[in-house]
Symmetry: C2
Amino acid sequence: MNRNFPPHAGTAHEMAAAVAAGYSPARIAEDLIANIGTVDGQVRAFAYFDADELRARAENLPDGPLRGVTIAVKDVLLTRDMPTAHNSPRYEGSMPGIDAACVDTLRQAGALIAGKVTTSEFASTTVGPGTTNPHDARRTPGGSSSGSAAAVAAGLTALAIGTQTGGSTIRPASFCGVFGMKPTWNAISREGSKMYSATCDTIGLYARSAMDFELLADVFDFDVCDLPETLEGLRVGVTYGTTPEAADDDTRAAMDGAIANLQAAGATVVDLALPPDFDGILDAHHIILAREGASAFLNEVRSTPNIEEFFTRLVSQRPTAAAARSAYKKSDRCRALIDRMFEDDIDLILTPSATGVAPIGTGTGDPVFNAMWTLLQVPVINIPFHKTIDNLPVGVSFIGRRYDDRKLIRIARLIAEAPSEPLNTSSLTI
Amino acid sequence: MNRNFPPHAGTAHEMAAAVAAGYSPARIAEDLIANIGTVDGQVRAFAYFDADELRARAENLPDGPLRGVTIAVKDVLLTRDMPTAHNSPRYEGSMPGIDAACVDTLRQAGALIAGKVTTSEFASTTVGPGTTNPHDARRTPGGSSSGSAAAVAAGLTALAIGTQTGGSTIRPASFCGVFGMKPTWNAISREGSKMYSATCDTIGLYARSAMDFELLADVFDFDVCDLPETLEGLRVGVTYGTTPEAADDDTRAAMDGAIANLQAAGATVVDLALPPDFDGILDAHHIILAREGASAFLNEVRSTPNIEEFFTRLVSQRPTAAAARSAYKKSDRCRALIDRMFEDDIDLILTPSATGVAPIGTGTGDPVFNAMWTLLQVPVINIPFHKTIDNLPVGVSFIGRRYDDRKLIRIARLIAEAPSEPLNTSSLTI
């Protein structure tokens, strides 16, 4: 289904440079319209797309670092000029009239908002929205940010915005073979994103290169911090979290590839032993989501008699207050411990992004390798690091200290640009 | 300016009972329209009020525990049928087309949404919106929930919804002599409330009796917990927090009155010594607000060149990442310590709600006695407990354990209904 990706479907840097050199946003809009016609019938990444509205937006872009760069917006983020349906019957055609804070910021930077892309219902269930994986249409692109990952993987947009509460940004990035970033919690305002868990909801980013996250770090004003010039001497802790048995051979191959890469570049790779405080942290994540979700969806459950059972269960089977207090205490404690590890022992953590390749069917996969890091609120970047014999991508997660997002981006870029280059999205043949 | 409050301007319980007995919501709407005409010219609690829309809403209320009960909504909460302006020039006339989650829940319970009430800009600055204190028009009603507290104090509505990030619900309740409640963080979803600080933003409640919070606890599905039948034997810890010198004689008189009341009812009152971990907790609150506010208002600052300097400073003078990590660590630690105090030592904390009576002028007062508890995410109820020689109200704060909101409400009700009765809103002559 490809080989005819238009040339603009490269990275955000390439697209911004093309616009600066005179390639007009209007032409980028026409490229996108044509490309959606060719590709999106099968991928089905878009939940809402209007060619005339896109043309009008392209004529009215402010100057800025993202001028003309196409970006797909997950359909749980409010947009003032497009419906926001959350893949929920109640919100079909809902026109909120205001932008989510991150969408507002992207528009101000000149980004060309491409349209709304698919999500599992309220970015919460594990039932996919019907979007297919660009690498294999029988497979899920992952979720809940299904359309965001698929749009970037299919070369429809240079960038996409998603969200993550469990593993909703990183897992789809792994399944779709693109760069995905879950920044530090609240480094990007989550205002105007459908609420599930105030503790875990995080705005996520997708790109076709690690370098593109530098552009987004500027746009969103991430903290300045010291940046390494090389991977030489970098201390990397490797962990399979609390569920090593969940990783299959493909995931282990991706991890081994990443380790070999890091070692070849002079990094010191060690096994990271998580202290006993981390035992049960996935349960804590589950309890916090169930508690916060019960608050978040109370009004939806009451107003929507036929709502997906997932939500009625959240509200009716809420864990006890004592369980909540205990879960918050554990997660608070582990957050302090991770901070200390980054101060004393390591520069980077390496962990799987998913249990294996994208599964076949409507399920969006297992967030077991993502949930802990979401709860810990640390920044995570998925880098595509392996291709199976069937050409399916598998990524790994690199994790940094809270607010050291720019350092993590730099490291990801150094890894992606190292001589023994990992799988690079823009070289994918899909 | 009053004595002619219509009879319906009592408590939510009384109003719900009147409706159940046949007093129609249409009549309640007409009462409110007349009352606003009489009173709100001076109080200026309402930012948006439309009589015809109110009449239409009154004709279409679902059955529910709040059927026909009037409630004012702070103008930082989205409403699908009214503008949400946040007291910001950028949002003048903005029609979001969707409800904040709490507004949706209130509508489903049959509440009659009265209109939008004033706020300081984005519920963030300490510059009042021009609303006056119903007890003395020269004075502030407090802020940022200025209109919410004033509407209930002036007998315009039985209930009001506000928000609290520093002291924005409890302080106005004290200044206006009404019952105010900041529930446990996230016990009520804050979706659709303007974001300032994800860690501290909390939906707040106003009522004319402690009993009315029971109604709201049912509507918002607060956790069930053990409820005391009496104040006898209750262990109460008294603290002036980390800034005892900030309390003036009126506040001390209110605190002494509350202590006498509790002791008369058989409670054991002790001085609560905060562990050294609490030193600097107000700084931690300040840092977390400054950090989270810098994310939250980035898009507003970029889009609004003439925005109030408060916001540009938030974004340009953001504390360092190291300061943030340290502030989160301290607040996480203190949250665990407070949980333990409630497990082992005390049932209730008593602390001031404000430094004294409502100040004269446009400033909304000092949140120094509220900020720590907001950061700790514990439930707080203000009870009016003192009247100065000038008839100005002063309240005190009762504080419970996270998620034990119903226990705190019960205790507040027992205190309010104790023989040596505190100042009761509905008996105020203003």
